[in-house]
Symmetry: C2
Subunit: 140 residues, 2 copies
DNA sequence: TCTTGACCTTCCAGTGACTGGAAGCCCCAT
DNA sequence: ATGGGGCTTCCAGTCACTGGAAGGTCAAGA
């Protein structure tokens, strides 16, 4: 299989596949012409990587997952620990974004959005006391 | 004010402040010795930037916000539109993370996490049908 | 006066995970 | 032989910093 076909099948850009080889995630064979020659096992690894990446695992986490996947004597507790740690990171990121969202929603909600220059959003950014005041008014 | 003091007051690393000058977000004066000399207005801008960044606005969005902040004849609708677009992005990101979270939670929940190699997490990553099956089992 | 140490400067390189593009083979069909 | 698509490598850019080296400046103490 040449790179274009494996890219289509794995659902990854060819560029990304070359990059994954460069950083040692896969090691496709090479034909006499220098072209990469992908086996089914390469395709499977790439699809695995694509799914792990789409779940937000970092490249290094993907490398560890792939190593566990290939290790027949792995303990599922190791996989679960890795995934659990990642879940914690996702949860933390969600909380962080929700805090941003809440603050910003209050500012946007307080802004008239008309032709006048007065703007609680800019006031909130310029002065955290103002921002707090809005919150206080809202929740009081 | 020298950079260290303004950094402490604005709550930003000195490195970041130099970077913000480099990309034209601020233009502090210079003393005869070549040191940056920050006015109160620079400090205010830096604090503004720090808050906007902490709400997830990109540097270019911050640049636009700062321009609106300085433009006395702005329309608050412009600010509200910018903030609203950013809120949409935040909401989209949260949804994306929640989808990852849901999928990963199902996989982690199905994994025994013991000394045996059998692992639904790896199976789910290796084979989306397996992943779907888990979901189906769960929701059926 | 000299020295020490904290502070300041610039410049260069690296992060993560790609992505775009240029220059140049290779292969197949016409 | 020519054209077009596919393949190769390498370099540069993204975003928002961050670390570190090399060197100038300043104020306080011996």
């Amino acid at each position: 299989m040449n790179i274009k076909e494996v890219a289509a099948r794995a659902g990854l850009p060819a560029k990304t596949i070359r990059y994954y080889e460069e950083i040692g995630l896969i090691r496709p064979l090479r034909g006499a012409n220098g072209y990469r020659s992908f086996r089914d096992s390469d395709l499977h690894k790439l699809a695995f990587l694509g799914r792990a990446r789409s779940l937000g695992f970092s490249i290094e986490e993907c490398r560890a997952l792939l190593a566990l996947y290939e290790d027949q004597s792995r303990a599922s507790s190791d996989v679960k620990a890795l995934a659990g740690k990642h879940l914690d990171q996702i949860a933390a990121k969600i909380r962080e974004l929700q805090e941003m969202q809440a603050t910003l929603q209050q500012l946007v909600g307080a802004c008239a959005g008309d032709q006048r220059p007065d703007c609680p959003i800019l006031q909130g950014l310029a002065d955290p006391a103002g921002l707090t005041r809005i919150k206080t008014d809202c929740c009081a």
